[in-house]
Amino acid sequence: MDGFLAVIWIVRLLFLALLYLFLARVVRSLLRDIRAAAREPSSSLGRLIVLDSPSGEPAQGRSFDLDAITTLGRDVNNAIVIDDPFASAEHAVLTYRGQSWYVEDLGSTNGTYINGGPVADLSPLGYGDEVAIGQVRLRLERARPA
């Protein structure tokens, strides 16, 4: 096999090898994602426990796993649906920024309260603090240990 032919075949085989390199990289990404996803369920960022719910929705004593952004309100598309007559459709949003929790009122009619005090704009929220939306009271807790 002469030199030119060897070069051609090296290039051809290199092309095939690069195709497989791409696939291998993708697979590596996928595996990483799967492993991350497998760890996710146990590594939620926090929980919200329902202390008091006169209307029954959400159920009293129920615990919600929290995401980085959690919306609360009467509209069914909220992450946590609060079916209380004193809650607005889009009432408040709970966010995890940096290393801590914040709650923000979304312009609700009756306002949002932390430990009894009204929430003006973005307010920090700590573990053990209570949030009141309408007649529903919820408490922020740490995530359940994995």
Partner: protein
């Protein structure tokens, strides 16, 4: 339409969107680098084989394509959406392979006269590819709410059916199939766009009626079926599929529609009985079509034994199999295959129906498996987007979009390899064809939009922000 409260409106993203800020997409960058390298090497391989010089074969075309991919990547980075980072490179690689193939085929297979000059196959495909990348990227960036898809599903269905009827009536017969709609100088294949519209409609319909379809029953002997009125669209789908076969003589599209429909039905309801009924309907329909229509029966006969008439009706598929055989394990090299017969390519319609055979010959079994792997990657991304989507509509929509690409690839690859009868569907992203590329670009764009993981919470307020950044790994308990 009875709008149940659950889907009265689209779930809107929280209004604290924060400023649109560029976000790095390193995975995508790394993968695109491999894609670029692979395509350059492939082009070198073409150049060595066809021009006998160590120079990329069509450096201008390749440069334009890589620039388009790079531009799309930059646009995605600047737009800062947290969408899937694997789709664009995978589709980019498939498109690049298509470009190499179209550059390698005789340029006069398809020509376009613009002004005074003639544009050949490779350049036309390059133009379509760039347009497709642009469409996919634009959709991926701009589409932020799915209301327009979700809310108007019956409108979409009507548009789809109107397109279909238009093609039935006004369509132009090309090669025994009435697929093309020609309005003035522009011609295209509406059936390509139709499959996207179908998925949108099905996603809306199935997500809306999912509880009914799952939980309520009518009993038909030992089978538990959803309530009969909800089965009506299913039978309507079957009838439409048969209609496509009858009028358009497009078995591939009919098969694609029906397969995607069945898969989505199963995905939405989890009821195996529906799938079984669907399969029974399919078998019955095929038998009916085969017995009534010669062209259907001819296709099936050719599929069963193409070697019975290797120079006549079986010619295409026999030549396709010969191409795979010549390729063997490693292929003969890009540009080195497809021996001419009397100055013409051995496989007719190679740029639309048989690109996989050409790639099988030039890249071998190893290359074909890599390409199938790429399609599997695209499908997997789509299905994963579906599985982790925010709600049922997006879930079913993403699944359906992924299936549209995956099932179509399976159908045409199976036809080229004599696993299924040959049908006229195109190999997504690789076959020549503007309609096909654009429709699949819409699919990819929508998938990108759907895969947006949502907004990250903006950074903490500045009073505490950078102090917390100094201690990044510890959770700090803060009191109000």
């Amino acid at each position: 339409m009875s709008a149940t409260p659950r889907t009265a409106s689209a779930p809107s993203l929280p209004r604290i969107l924060g400023p649109i800020r560029p976000r790095p997409r390193w995975t995508e960058t790394r993968l695109l680098a491999i894609v670029a390298l692979a395509l350059v090497v492939g082009s070198l391989s073409l150049g060595l084989t066809l021009a006998h010089r160590f120079v990329p074969y069509d450096p201008g075309g390749l440069a334009i394509y890589l620039a388009a991919l790079g531009g799309a990547h930059v646009a995605m980075v600047l737009a800062g959406r947290r969408s899937d980072q694997i789709l664009l490179p995978a589709v980019g690689l498939l498109g690049g392979i298509s470009l190499l193939l179209m550059q390698r085929l005789p340029q006069d297979l398809v020509t376009l006269d613009v002004g005074g000059s003639t544009i050949g196959l490779g350049d036309i495909q390059l133009a379509w590819l760039c347009l497709a990348i642009a469409v996919a990227t634009t959709l991926g960036i701009v589409v932020r709410s799915d209301t327009w898809l979700r809310r108007y599903k019956y409108t979409w269905a009507a548009v789809g059916i109107a397109l279909l009827l238009l093609t039935f009536v006004l369509g132009v017969d090309v090669g025994g199939q009435r697929l093309t709609l020609r309005i003035g100088p522009v011609s295209g294949q509406p059936s390509e766009l139709l499959k996207v519209i179908l998925v949108v409609f099905l996603a809306g319909y199935l997500s809306e009626n999912r509880p009914l379809l799952i939980e309520q029953d009518t009993r038909l002997g030992p089978l538990r079926l959803p309530p009969l009125p909800y089965l009506a669209p299913m039978v309507a789908m079957w009838a439409i599929a048969l209609g496509i076969v009858v009028v358009q003589r497009d078995l591939g599209a009919a098969l694609l529609f029906f397969a995607v429909f069945l898969a989505l039905l199963y995905a939405a309801t989890g009821r195996l009985s529906l799938v079984l009924i669907g399969l029974v309907l399919f078998v019955l329909g095929s038998a009916l079509m085969a017995s009534l229509f010669d062209h259907v029966r001819a296709r099936i006969d050719i599929w069963i034994d193409p070697f019975a008439d290797p120079l006549g009706t079986g010619y295409q598929i026999v030549q396709s199999l010969h191409a795979f055989a010549r390729g063997g394990l490693l292929g003969v090299g890009l540009g080195a295959g497809l021996p001419m017969v009397g100055g013409r390519l051995p496989i007719p319609e190679i740029h639309t129906d048989f690109p996989l055979a050409a790639l099988g010959e030039e890249l071998g079994l190893v290359g074909v498996i890599a390409i199938l792997g790429l399609y599997l990657v695209v499908v997997e991304r789509g299905l994963r987007i579906g599985a982790s989507a925010a709600d049922d509509f997006r879930s079913i929509l993403a699944t359906g979009l992924a299936l549209v690409i995956g099932v179509q690839a399976v159908i045409i690859a199976a036809g080229d390899l004599k696993v299924l009868p040959l049908t006229g569907v195109t190999l997504p992203f690789i076959s020549y064809g503007g309609s096909s590329l654009l429709a699949n670009a819409v699919v990819v764009g929508l998938l990108l939009a759907l895969s947006d993981k949502g907004v990250e919470p903006p950074p903490p307020p500045t009073t505490s922000g950078w102090r917390s950044r100094l201690r990044p790994s510890r959770l700090r308990r803060r009191s109000p």
